[in-house]
C-alpha cells in the first residue's frame, strides 16, 4: 500500500463517481476520460507498460472522443431540467451496493489475500509481439475481423434511414 497507489485510487474513484453523477453530459465524458487515464496509471504501476499505453491510446484517444461526438450528435450537451436518475434508482443503487459488499467480503476472505509481492515480471514489447505472432495469432486475426465487422456495422446502423 504505497502513496502512489493511494493517489491513483483516489483520482480514479473521484473521476468515476463524477462521470456517473454529473448533470452535464460533456463533463461526464471528460470525467470518464480522467478515469480511463487513472486506470492506465494503475497498469503502469503494475509493470504492464504496453497495456497502459494501449489503454491511453484506445480509451482516452478514441473512445472518450467517440463519446463526446455522440453527446454532440444527440444534443446531450444542452442542460436538462428533468430528473437524472430513472424511476428504479433505489433498486439499482441497492444492487450495486450488494455487489460491492459481496466482492469485498470475498476478496478479504480469499487465500490470495496472503499473497505477498512477487519479483517484477519482465513483459517487454518484444515478448508480447512474439507471443501475439506465435501462440495467439488466431485470436489476433479474429479480433481484426471483429473490429472490421463492428466498424462497418456501426456505419450502417448510424446511416440516415431511407424514407420509403
Amino acid at each position: 500500500m504505497t502513496i502512489t497507489f493511494a493517489i491513483i485510487a483516489f483520482v480514479t474513484i473521484t473521476a468515476t463517481v463524477a462521470a456517473m453523477s454529473l448533470r452535464n453530459l460533456v463533463h461526464c465524458a471528460l470525467a470518464s476520460a480522467v478515469a480511463f487515464g487513472g486506470l492506465a496509471a494503475a497498469y503502469l504501476q503494475l509493470d504492464a507498460q504496453f497495456v497502459g499505453f494501449a489503454q491511453i491510446l484506445v480509451y482516452v484517444g478514441a473512445i472518450a472522443i467517440l463519446i463526446v461526438f455522440a453527446v454532440l450528435l444527440t444534443r446531450g450537451g444542452e442542460p436538462t431540467e428533468e430528473a437524472l436518475f430513472s424511476r428504479t434508482w433505489l433498486a439499482g443503487t441497492a444492487i450495486a451496493v450488494v455487489v460491492f459488499g459481496v466482492l469485498a467480503w470475498t476478496i478479504r476472505n480469499s487465500f490470495v489475500s496472503q499473497r505477498e509481492t512477487t519479483p517484477v515480471p519482465d513483459a517487454t514489447v518484444k515478448e508480447i509481439g512474439d507471443v501475439l505472432m506465435n501462440k495467439y495469432v488466431l485470436p489476433l486475426e479474429v479480433i481484426g475481423l471483429l473490429l472490421t465487422a463492428a466498424l462497418i456495422g456501426a456505419v450502417i446502423i448510424a446511416l440516415k434511414e431511407e424514407r420509403k
Binding site: I63, L66, A70, T74, A154
Partner: protein
C-alpha cells in the same frame, strides 16, 4: 493489506460504481460509459492477478486484456451508433421514454 488486495478492492469499487451508473442513469450515453467502466474494472483484475501470479512470463493476463480492449472498442463503436440511431428515431436518449419495440 497486500498490494494485490488494494488493486482488487479498487477494481471491485469501480465495478460497483459503473454498475450503479448503468442501472440508475436515464441517459443512454452514461449507461454506455458505465458499461465501459465495468469492463475496465475487469481488465484491472486481470493485470493485478498477472502481476502477482507465480508464472507471469506466460503473459496470459496481458493477452486477455489486449483482446478485451479490442472487443471493448468494437462494442463502444456499435453502442454509440445504436444510440445515434435511437436518437434519430425517438428524438431522445432518455431510456425511460424508449419503451416500444414497434417501429
Amino acid at each position: 493489506m497486500t498490494p494485490l488486495i488494494g488493486y482488487l478492492l479498487l477494481s471491485a469499487f469501480l465495478f460497483a460504481i459503473g454498475l450503479a451508473g448503468a442501472l440508475t442513469r436515464r441517459n443512454a450515453i452514461i449507461v454506455l460509459i458505465g458499461i465501459e467502466l465495468m469492463l475496465n474494472a475487469a481488465n484491472l483484475n486481470f493485470i493485478a492477478f498477472w502481476r502477482f501470479s507465480e508464472h507471469p512470463e506466460a503473459l496470459t493476463g496481458i493477452m486477455f486484456v489486449i483482446f478485451a480492449i479490442g472487443v471493448a472498442a468494437a462494442e463502444a463503436a456499435v453502442g454509440l451508433a445504436l444510440i445515434i440511431a435511437i436518437y434519430r428515431h425517438y428524438k431522445t436518449t432518455n431510456l425511460d421514454e424508449v419503451d416500444s419495440l414497434k417501429g
